[in-house]
Structure formats: structure tokens, C-alpha cells
Symmetry: D3
Amino acid sequence: MLSPNVETFIACNVPYEKARIVLYGAPFDSTTSFRPGARFGPPAIRHESFGLETFSLYQHADLTDCAVFDSGDLELCFGSSDAALADIQARAAIILGDGKLPFLLGGEHLVTLGAVRAALELYPDLHIIQFDAHADLRDDYLGAKLSHACVMRRCHDLVGDGRIHQFAIRSGEREEFLFAKEHTDMHPFSFACVESLVKDLRQRQVPVYFTIDLDCLDPSAFPGTGTPEAGGVTFMELLRALRAVCTTRVIGADVNELAPMLDASGVSTATACKVVREMLLALEKKCCPSA
Amino acid sequence: MLSPNVETFIACNVPYEKARIVLYGAPFDSTTSFRPGARFGPPAIRHESFGLETFSLYQHADLTDCAVFDSGDLELCFGSSDAALADIQARAAIILGDGKLPFLLGGEHLVTLGAVRAALELYPDLHIIQFDAHADLRDDYLGAKLSHACVMRRCHDLVGDGRIHQFAIRSGEREEFLFAKEHTDMHPFSFACVESLVKDLRQRQVPVYFTIDLDCLDPSAFPGTGTPEAGGVTFMELLRALRAVCTTRVIGADVNELAPMLDASGVSTATACKVVREMLLALEKKCCPSA
Amino acid sequence: MLSPNVETFIACNVPYEKARIVLYGAPFDSTTSFRPGARFGPPAIRHESFGLETFSLYQHADLTDCAVFDSGDLELCFGSSDAALADIQARAAIILGDGKLPFLLGGEHLVTLGAVRAALELYPDLHIIQFDAHADLRDDYLGAKLSHACVMRRCHDLVGDGRIHQFAIRSGEREEFLFAKEHTDMHPFSFACVESLVKDLRQRQVPVYFTIDLDCLDPSAFPGTGTPEAGGVTFMELLRALRAVCTTRVIGADVNELAPMLDASGVSTATACKVVREMLLALEKKCCPSA
Amino acid sequence: MLSPNVETFIACNVPYEKARIVLYGAPFDSTTSFRPGARFGPPAIRHESFGLETFSLYQHADLTDCAVFDSGDLELCFGSSDAALADIQARAAIILGDGKLPFLLGGEHLVTLGAVRAALELYPDLHIIQFDAHADLRDDYLGAKLSHACVMRRCHDLVGDGRIHQFAIRSGEREEFLFAKEHTDMHPFSFACVESLVKDLRQRQVPVYFTIDLDCLDPSAFPGTGTPEAGGVTFMELLRALRAVCTTRVIGADVNELAPMLDASGVSTATACKVVREMLLALEKKCCPSA
Amino acid sequence: MLSPNVETFIACNVPYEKARIVLYGAPFDSTTSFRPGARFGPPAIRHESFGLETFSLYQHADLTDCAVFDSGDLELCFGSSDAALADIQARAAIILGDGKLPFLLGGEHLVTLGAVRAALELYPDLHIIQFDAHADLRDDYLGAKLSHACVMRRCHDLVGDGRIHQFAIRSGEREEFLFAKEHTDMHPFSFACVESLVKDLRQRQVPVYFTIDLDCLDPSAFPGTGTPEAGGVTFMELLRALRAVCTTRVIGADVNELAPMLDASGVSTATACKVVREMLLALEKKCCPSA
Amino acid sequence: MLSPNVETFIACNVPYEKARIVLYGAPFDSTTSFRPGARFGPPAIRHESFGLETFSLYQHADLTDCAVFDSGDLELCFGSSDAALADIQARAAIILGDGKLPFLLGGEHLVTLGAVRAALELYPDLHIIQFDAHADLRDDYLGAKLSHACVMRRCHDLVGDGRIHQFAIRSGEREEFLFAKEHTDMHPFSFACVESLVKDLRQRQVPVYFTIDLDCLDPSAFPGTGTPEAGGVTFMELLRALRAVCTTRVIGADVNELAPMLDASGVSTATACKVVREMLLALEKKCCPSA
């Protein structure tokens, strides 16, 4: 008898009960103000992951040794940010409640808010580490409080001062940087101080939500995103920094803002796949025999 | 002294006070469920119109003889359909209030609702003529009442039975066609009966709002749209039908659903420009000296 | 507990045991001589089918009333036509053996040979109806006997004279047309005589394998294919002809030669989805309550 | 010993001395006002012709039976229309002087002027048959007398009234159509009267220069051109009309305005190749054994 | 009453009289020998600038504090370099005559010659600083003296030896480098000595015309240009170097050679916008309150 | 009398007898498992080379001083790796037999095997230097022994341990790296030790076959390839390393895996041309007067 067509991120096919990490996708980009398309990110990452090796020469580890389950994409309502965030939060809450790490594939950056809300229910002392080109600290954008450009401001509403750590930021309004000076831990342009932050958080065993807006990468490496910002980090710099962060007590994570149709060469999607693979391996490192 | 850079649809540069028709753009596509991009339609139409002749060999008329003003695009809030529709309605109300014909460039089809609301304030006996591939008669779409897929259903809420005339429809859910059978005047696949309808409406001097979803065209003629539906009408059929409709008492109009980045050849944008030119000429026919 | 991510052609999700039709994909294009890419056809059709309505206004029928199972894509060896054809034949044989209709998504046209071999095992009196721009009757192509350009010649090796019925053919070498004159039932350029053939086959209850090379469509309607040939049939002509063929005793079918990356507008993929939907509905017609 | 890499239009490889038709390319588009790219037309046509069959089912003739030589592209000076036209005229004069038919691959439509100048030296009673979407009858364009938009006006300066026959025209300024009414034989929109014209010219054995601007085709069939104009002729209509014209005493010909990079699907280039093949076969018909 | 649709580079909307810098566009590329498209640069930069923040984290300055007017694009004659250059020179002369800094958006690099001619009228001791991948020092190109490949040679005709400073050059003919050795101040591959040159020019208060051919950037950062040359500078290197140059007495400037349609990802256009913003801020630095 | 249209890599037009290096192309990609298109590499490189200067500022040498002949592309059978490799081997054998250096333009990487087989006939002590992102050391791939993913494993079958030197490798299966540890000289990620290897090989006058898979470059510099791998080398690093290798006794070489249609910007093709130019100049250095 023939089986139905199950499609997952490559090698992410352990049974749900045995999984330590659970992938879920949020194909949503309704508040994107410039060039939409991030909604196509999650299925593109899943589909193109089959052009990837499961083995990483950077970490000498193999996805086939890891315990990851891919629960597919949520069916979200375009045009209603409230409804979409509620659905994301609910899925994250289920995964967290089962003692697993929710790993979200966006979607525009606003989707992070849903996952953070769920994480805060279990971890009130949560810190957030953000890799991003944009500060995302506006109080509202064209009248909307729920917007990709406001997502970290909304997170700040929830976690308060000093618990959002922002890296590689190079774009924003003047007001956002004034806000950051008072309320967040912002490191512009690069990953300069990521190691020392990570050391501190690791020692204190602080629960960390880790969000990567892929536009932190230089557009030469990652052109397939709605608002490309010249002057970004390299892939190798991102790799080193994300492995550092994954040594902390990460309890939730996301990778977002791939808009695959904006890069017809396929390089951006392939690079996003590699970032996801390296994160999964770094998060799973302790339990992988080959690590 | 140098002048600022004014950009209009070609030859639509009479002073506002002298204009009979006023263009306005609604670059909005937040509820688009499949492939977004209609937000880029209005500026693309305006910009590419300069590749167009102002003279039409079909109507032997010239845009330079017409009285059209282009008021540019509204700055709409992505992520909030309510706010966007309110802004569209307000602009349409101003133009109608000044005794001019508002001509809207979309955007996704939902934008029509804002213009229809404004028109109903002045013309409670309004009829709507819709050229479209899709019925757009769903009661809700993924939970949203305000969606491109529901726009004609929302219009029906306002105008009631028998006053929405739908042509070239070839796609929808079973429920939409059952609804249409009871409540609208639907003509599937073609413009078969447009002449007789027009004759009747013209004789009764019924006020007409005329909305064209450009995906009524076959995708071979118009690939640059979010949800292309094979089996559509030809450009020449559309031309004949729209000129017929423009002989009625049209008091408002729109052209929507061009997503220019989906057709890199530029053909769809050029064709949209030509549709706008032919509509403007047809609507202005009586007062154009060369007509 | 969360479910894994099952991806099927829209609404093709009945359990295998209850299915009357079974979809399977052959993402293979190794012998394509001009522009490859048909290997990406099956997943693109499956993925983009979610932009499609399940209801057909042409047939007043709905896919949700049909009994179709999607068994996903075969993993085929690039570079070995022999191995790929053997795998295709094996899958088709399983489906046929379970009393179901195998419906193959290609891939280049060579994949048809695998399915035809399986069908001949059960139906030695098989006829083949081919819709195609190309005769595909070369004896070899650049030395290869197993090539997309030879697939109907290889089928002729198996079924013999007068049992291959070719429609819409408009391209080939002089030798292919000389061969056709002697050995096949060729109808160049159009579907002119499809009705009378169908009537005859239906009356005699001849088992029919039905293969559609989507390049039979005019390139204006279907640009996304490796070897576009101007002067083809329209979508509506194809629709009528395929519904006619589906009134015969079809025991296997395929749709092939979509190369989605050659048409960035997405129109070709959307059109292929619609062809598949219409074929499934036509093949299922007798058992659908709404038909 | 190895041979150098000779690249020709498919099967156009007889020695120059034996050729009856000689291809030459003019990769020039400096005066294109809207979207350039026609300069890439000739090498694209030559290169992609290898995806074409040499046999035509429309004419039951084969290019391998014809006597055509491909002399490659001229190296023209961008930015100087005068110099470019002189080079084109010189090449055409050589070919005509050797008693052969010069067949020019453009390039923008201005290139025709160079070939017409050469033809008039030998054939002062020359008529011109033009297939085109645009009248090309402006007296000047943005100050330039030598422009693609003026090419037929410049030809009229040379041949005078009643000797330019224009078909499928659907775009131009009002002044151009007023000029045409007085001075040219214009047939708007279609090939309606081409048969009767051809009959007359054939009987009188008038020497004919035949120029095809491929934008006469509908943009659905031929999107790859700088100024696409909706409402054009179909490929089959073009085929019939060009075969009719080729029964007159054609002494020179050209095919122009393919801008291949504007149609990434490759359909426009493939269609241009087919038009060239059909013209070569039609022009060679009398001497081809299979005709 | 509604206002017409004014389109400027973002935030460049002070009244002309109050402006210190005036933008003007030259959408011209007739002499481009390889891949045209730079004509589309100025409107693309203007239009896409709305995806940009007005604030720069690099300079801690905001465009909304600056005094810039955007006078739109010139309407230039394609096919006549002489006429186009005269129009550019005239516009530059007006701006310079009004005591403002003319900032030109190209177009191909030849447009610089028009601006330099105007600048030399007022500043006979002018120096030119050029950032470019190509030397542009040919005496003629395919017979044309006015060509993008000759623009710096033509400038040398006007300013003489030692007053053209060339940086980041990595491509040219052997003769151009021999010429440079004798007549210009060329710094191949990088911005190695830009600081010392700038110091000297600043101390001597030499008037400087500053021209940036964006192809000085590595093609990975800026693929959207006609003749990409691997091995270029990074965006951050360009930023540092241009800020250094802007500390001299710059009396005119241009940014050119963006061909937006060659980079469908939009990265090149976004990067060009950022270069323009950073240059405007650097040129305005002294009078901006936030600087 | 007019000449036929000879198309070569720029300036590679000396007579065969006088040539020291002979170019030949293998447009083959049948075993490509992910995204095909490398078959279009050789003609694209040849055609686009005309946008390149013949002079190199890196080497102060000019292709017009070199002795290179371009023998064009082989016509290979798609779908049969065996036949294709035999044809490549035969062409390489002719060139080697005439005492010239065969320089192969691929094509997928499997084509190298044909050239290596020919080289081993004359040079049994051959070493191979490979620049590549992928190890290409699988024993089989989806059942095929002849596959791009196995090409270096097949070469190892022929040359044995320690004679394959691999640089810039960053992707592969775990098994490939275990194999490399035992059998090849692998240098992951970079060109770290290329100088010392080169020095040793040069002193021992070992015959070297030099194969460059262009995907060794970072995808930002070279997106146009089937399997882009983030984290690669820069163009300048590749340039330095290839010039070092060319100081050894190179007796055959190839450059492969450009898939031009995957990078519509043209940057990848232009970069491939530059790599070929620099290799030709480096290989010819001793006999070029300007070197």
C-alpha cells in the first residue's frame, strides 16, 4: 500500500514524541510595507532543503543523528495580525508544553511576537537575542501597533528594559535609536560583543528566545528579502555568532524574512536552509553522537 | 527657477478645478491570499504610461483633449483593511462631492468597497458592473469578512439583490455560484449579454459603478496578476465591452489587480495602461473634440 | 499531538484504499535536449494547486467529492533512463494491480513509457491518445533510443500500427511524418477529429492510455515548457478535447512537460493545475454526486 | 585538425557562392526610446535556432534543402545612427550586387532604412510591405530624424506616395494617421487585404522589400519586444500573411525588434526563429525539391 | 482641493530657493555598448528611495534636516549624444548659477561630461575625483568620441594633466593604462590613497567634481549594472571613501550606471539609494543640526 | 565575398597549428541532481566574453598576445554519460596528441573525467588539483557511478592515493570526508596551503590537471550555479590561487558548473569569462611579450 506524501525539512522526521525540537511555519507577511513575499519562505525552505547535505563540515555533525519533527505550516488569516499571532502563540504553547523547543520559520518578523508571548507564559525571566538589520522598535507604523517594524517594541512592552539584545542593526528611524539607548542592549553593525553576552547568559542559565531576521546578512549573501540593507554581516560571521548563542539556554527560536521569489537564483533560499541546519545542529549538539 | 517633479498618468495634467475625471491610487494588497504585489500596480501604471501613445486608433480620440487630473496614491496602512477602506472612501467622497468622477487604480479588489461606500452616499440606487475572473462572493475568507475574495459579497450587503452584474466569471467555490443564482446577475465566462444590459441601464439612466478586475483577461494577455485563471477573455473583447459600459451613466470606476513584478516582460503593465487610456477616453467621449 | 506535514494535490487526500485514482510524480528530465526543468513540474503542481478552487464551473463538479490519493514523487536516478523507467513502471503496476487508475505527473515526456509498459501488462489491446506539439517519433536522438523525442516511437514498438492517436502535432523531422503516415493515426495542428475517434473507442470499450504533453497548448497560454512551439491550441480547446477523451475507458493517464522555472509569472503552473483538476473531475465524473 | 567554431542560423551553411539568400545581423538599438534590448536579437535568434526543427509541417519543406548563407552580425557603432545605417547599407549592397537576397536580422526597426537605401539603388521602383504594430511615420522623435519611430517616414522620403503598404498597425500619434491617409497604403489592426495587394504586385512583378516588426504579433504570443501593444495578430495569421507576401518578387527582407531578455521564458526568441524559418522556406520555395 | 502627484527622492522636498543641493536626472544610455538599461536608473532610485530610512546610523544625521530639492529627469534625445550633453550642461549651469550644488543621477557615465562642462565655466581650476571599475580613457570607441568608454578622456581634454583622480579602477585596454601613467592620477583596485589626496585638496580649497560609477562596487554588492567587473570594493569601503571626498570643496557630483532591470532582486537599486542618501548627508553635514 | 560567422572566446583566434592552448566545450549536465543548466555554460562564456577587455590589469598581459584556438562545443548525447565522456576523451586526446594544452569549458563537473582519462594516457604520473565547494567523492549517487557527485572518486579510481589535491571544499556527506582523510589531500574551506603544494609540484615538474568548479566561489560572487554553497572564497582569493597553480606544469585544465540562466544579472557569466581569461593568461605567461 502506498504512503501519502510527507514533506519535511530534510531529515526532520523523527516521531513527534521523540523530538526535542519541533519546526513550525508561519507563512504570513500582511504588514510588510515595502516588498511582500516572506509568506513563501517556510515552504521554500522545506522544499529546497533537499539540495542540502545533512552533514555539516563546520560542526562535524549530521542532522540524521538529531531529533527534530516538522509540524508543517499554520494556515493563517491574511489581513488580520491579531488572529495570526494568536494561532502562532497557540502552536508554540503546545510545543513548549510538551517540553520541546519550538523552532519557527517565518514569515515577516512580526510572527516572532506570537512565539515570544507563548514563551513568556513559561519563562517570565526570558531574554531575547535578535540578529537583524533593522531595530524594529517603532511604536507604530502607519498607524498600526502590530507591524514588522514594531515587533521588538511590542516585545519590549512584555519583557521590559535590558532584556532585548540586538545585534547587526544598521537601519531605523532616529527615534528608534533614542529608544534603544534607554531601553535595549543594542550592538550596531556587527556581532562585536556577542561572545561576552553569551558567556554571561550561559553562566546565569537565563532562558533565551533567539530570533534571526535573515536580512542581518549582507544583501550580497542574501538578496531575497523585502528590505535589503547594504553593509551587513557575512555568512561566516553569522555562523560563528549563532553557534555562540546556541550555547546558552535557548528555549525557542525563529528564522524569518526570506522572500524567495525576490531572488530567482535560489541562493537566498539555499542559504536560509543552511542557517536552519546549522542552528538545528548547534541546538542539538549535546545529544548528537557525532558532535 | 526649476519645477518639482510631478508624475501623473500620461496627459492627465489639467488643473483639479477643470477636471471631469480624477485618478487616485490605492496601493493595498494586505488580504491577498495567494501571491501579493497588487500594491505596486498604481505607480507602475502611472510610470509606464509614458510608453503609451495618447491617441487611440480604436476610438479616434486623444487623451490630450480630455480633462483628467491625477491626484496620486493614498498612503495606506498595511495590515488594517478597516483603516485602508476608510481612507479610500474619504478620497472618493471628496471627488464625488466636487462633482467629478473618481477613477481608482488598485491594488487588490477589496479597495472597490471603499469607493462603492462613498458612491452609495450620493447614489442610493447604484448598480455595479463587475468584470472579473472570480465571483468574489464568499461570506468570509479564512475568517476575514473584509477580503478580496469577499468584496462583492460586502457590496451586496450594501446594494442588495439584482444590482450587481458580473461578467467573465470563471472561478469560485460552489457556494458562491449558489449565492449568485439567488442574488446577483451573473454571466459566466464571457461578455455575452453586456450589450442588452447596457441598453437597459442607459435608458433608465441608472447610476453605475464600474469595476474591472484585470484578471478577467486571459493569462496569456495578462499574466501579471496574483491569481491567473486560464480561459479568460481577449483584450479586444474587453475593449468592446468596456466601451459599451461607458455609454451608461458611470459615476465611479476602478481598474485593479495588476501585480507588475509577476510579469517581468512588462506586457501586463502596458496592457493595464491601455485599458485605463481606453476607459478614460470612453468616459470622456462626449466632451472630446476629436470624438 | 502534532501531525506531520502531508502535501498533496489539493483535496486529493482520501485513504489509499478508498481511492479510485492515484497520483504519482516522476521528476525526471535527463534526456531533455534543449532546456531542462520538467523535473520540477510535479512538486510545483502539487504546491501551487492550493491557489486553485476545488470546484469547476466548467463541469459543475467539485474535487472534494472525488476519491483521489496522492502518493507523492518517485526518487529517480538522474543520468539513467533505464533505471528511471523501471521505477515508474513498478509504481504504475502497483496502482493498476490494486484496481485503481494511475495518474502520472511528469517530468519529460519519456516518463510515459514506464506507465505504458505497466498498462500493457494488464491491457494488451491498449490504445494511446497523445496531445502534443511534437510527434516524438524519432527512432533515436543523438544516439539514444530512450529519449523524450523518441517516446511515441518506443510506444509504437510495443503497441504496433494504428493504436497511437496523435493530436495537435505541429513539429517534427520529415522522417517522423513519413513514419506517422504509415504507422500512427496523426491529426496535425488541432483536435479536429477527436470526437469521432472518441465515439468509436467508447463504443468498442477499448482501454485507453491518455498522455498530455502540455506543450500542445500555444506558448502564449503555456510558456513554461522546454520547447515552446508557436501555433498551438487554446486552453478552452484543450478542455473540450480532454473531457471528450475522458468519456472513453481511460485506464491510465499523465500530464507532463511543465518546466515551472521557465515561466516566472506562475501562469503555466496554475494552468497545469487546472488541467489536472479538470482531468480528475472528468475521469471521476460518474461517481461525483454534483456531476 | 580541429575546425573553428562557426555559428549560423540552423542549416544556413551553404557556401556563399551557392547561396540565394544571405543572412546578416544588425545588433543596434540606440534610438529605442522605451525599453532597449533589440541589439541582442540577432545572436539570440541564431543561437536558439538549434532548438528548432529544420522541417516545416506548414509548408512541407526543409531548410536543409535550401541555399542560405549566414554572414553573421555587423559590428555597429552605438550612439551614431548615421554610421550604423551606412554599414548596413554597405553590407546589403554587396549581397544585392552578388545577385542574392539580403535577409536582415534586427535590431530596432531603424535598421530597415539602411537595407532600403541599398535596394533602391538597384530597384528604383521598389515597394515596401511593412507588418508592424506601429505606424513609424513621425517626422522626428524628440528632435531626431533618424529614429525607430520615424523609419517609415524616412522610407517615404525615398519612395514617395503609395508605395509603402502597412499592415496590422494599431498605434501611433494622430498626426501619423493623418499622414498615412494622404501618403501610404495603411491597413489598420489586421492583414485583411493582404491577399489582393499581393496578387496585384505579383502580376506586375513589382520588386518588394518586406519588413516585419515582430511586435505586429499580439504580446501574448510575443512579449519580448520593447513596446508591446495589446490587440495584435496571432502567429497563424502572421504565417499565412507572410507566405502570401513571399509569393511576390521579394528582393530584400528583414525581421526585427526581438528583445530577448524581456522574455525570460524564451518563447519570443523561439517564435522569432520560427518566423525566420518560415520566411526562408517561403522565399526559397521554388527551388526546394520537397516544396 | 487635491494636490498633484509630486515624486522626489525621499525627503528632498524643500522649496528650490531654499535648497543647497539640487537633484536632476539624466536617463540616457545610448552609447552603452554591452547591456543597456542605465536610462532607467534615475526614476528607479527616486521611486525606491521610499523603502529607505531618512536617518543614517553611519553619520547620525537625517535627510529631513537637509535642504535638497529634486528637479526631476531631463527628457533627452536617444540616439544623439551631442544633444543630450547640451541639455545636461544647461540644467547644471542653471543650478550652479543659482549658487547650489548640482547632483546628477545617471544614466550611463557619459552624462558626467555635460555636468563637468558646466562646472568648468565657473571653476576653471576644477579637479575631478572618479570612483569606477573602468578607466574610461579610450580616445574613441567603435569610432565614437562621445562614448561612456571615453568620458574621462574627454574630461582630460578639458582639464588637462594631473587633475583627474581615479580610484578602484580594475578594467581597461592596455592603451588606457599607458595614457593614465602619463596624464591622470590613477589608483587601481582600491581607495588606498584617497585620504591623503583628500587632505591635500581640502587644504588647498580646490573645487572638486565628484563622480561615482557604481560599478566600482563588487558585483556581489551591486549586480545591476551593464558591465559588472569582479574584484571590486565593498559597500563599507565605498561609504568611508565617499565621506572622505565630501570633506573637500565639492561643487558638483553624480552617481551613475545603475541598470535596475538587470537586478530583479532590487538590491542594486536599494544600494544606489543608500549611496545617494549618504552622499547628500555628507555634503550637507555642516548645516544639518543633528550632524 | 563574405565570411561565415566564426564565434570564439574573445581573441582566441590563432590558427590551430600555431595554438599552444585549445579551448573545447562540453555542454552536458544530465547527471545534475538539483538544478540543471550547466549545459548552457560554454556558449554563454564564449558569447559574453565580448564584454570583456583582452587586457588584464592583474597580470599586465593581453590575450591578443597569446596563442589560443577555440574549437567550439562537442555535440553530446543527453541521457548517456558513457557516450558523452567518450566524446570528451577523444577530443582531449587529439589536442594532447598535437602537443597542445586542452582547456575544457563545462558543463557539469562529471565532464572532467573524460579529460582526465585522456591525460592519463600520456601522463601516468598525473596529479589533479581541484578547486570546489563539494568533495565529489561519493562512490555512487542514487545508484549511478558516473555522476557529478562522484567525479573525483572516479578520478581516484584512476590515479590512486595522494594525487588529488582538493581546495575550498565545504560540503559533502560524512562518508566523503572519511574517504578524503584516507585517500586524498583535502584542504577544507580555503586555499590555505596552495602555495606550498604548488612549490613542491613545480620543483618536481609533476604533470598537473587543473579543474575549477566555479561553485568554489561564494554564491554572492557567483550565484549562477546549480548547488550554491554559502561560505565560499572571494574572486580575488581565487585569482591568486589559480595563478599559483598555473606556475606548475599544467597539461590540461577545465572550468565548469556555470549555469547562466540561474543568474539573470549576468554577473556569474561575466565572472566566469574573467576566470577563463586570467587562466589563459597565466598558462601562457612565459610566451607573452607583455608578461
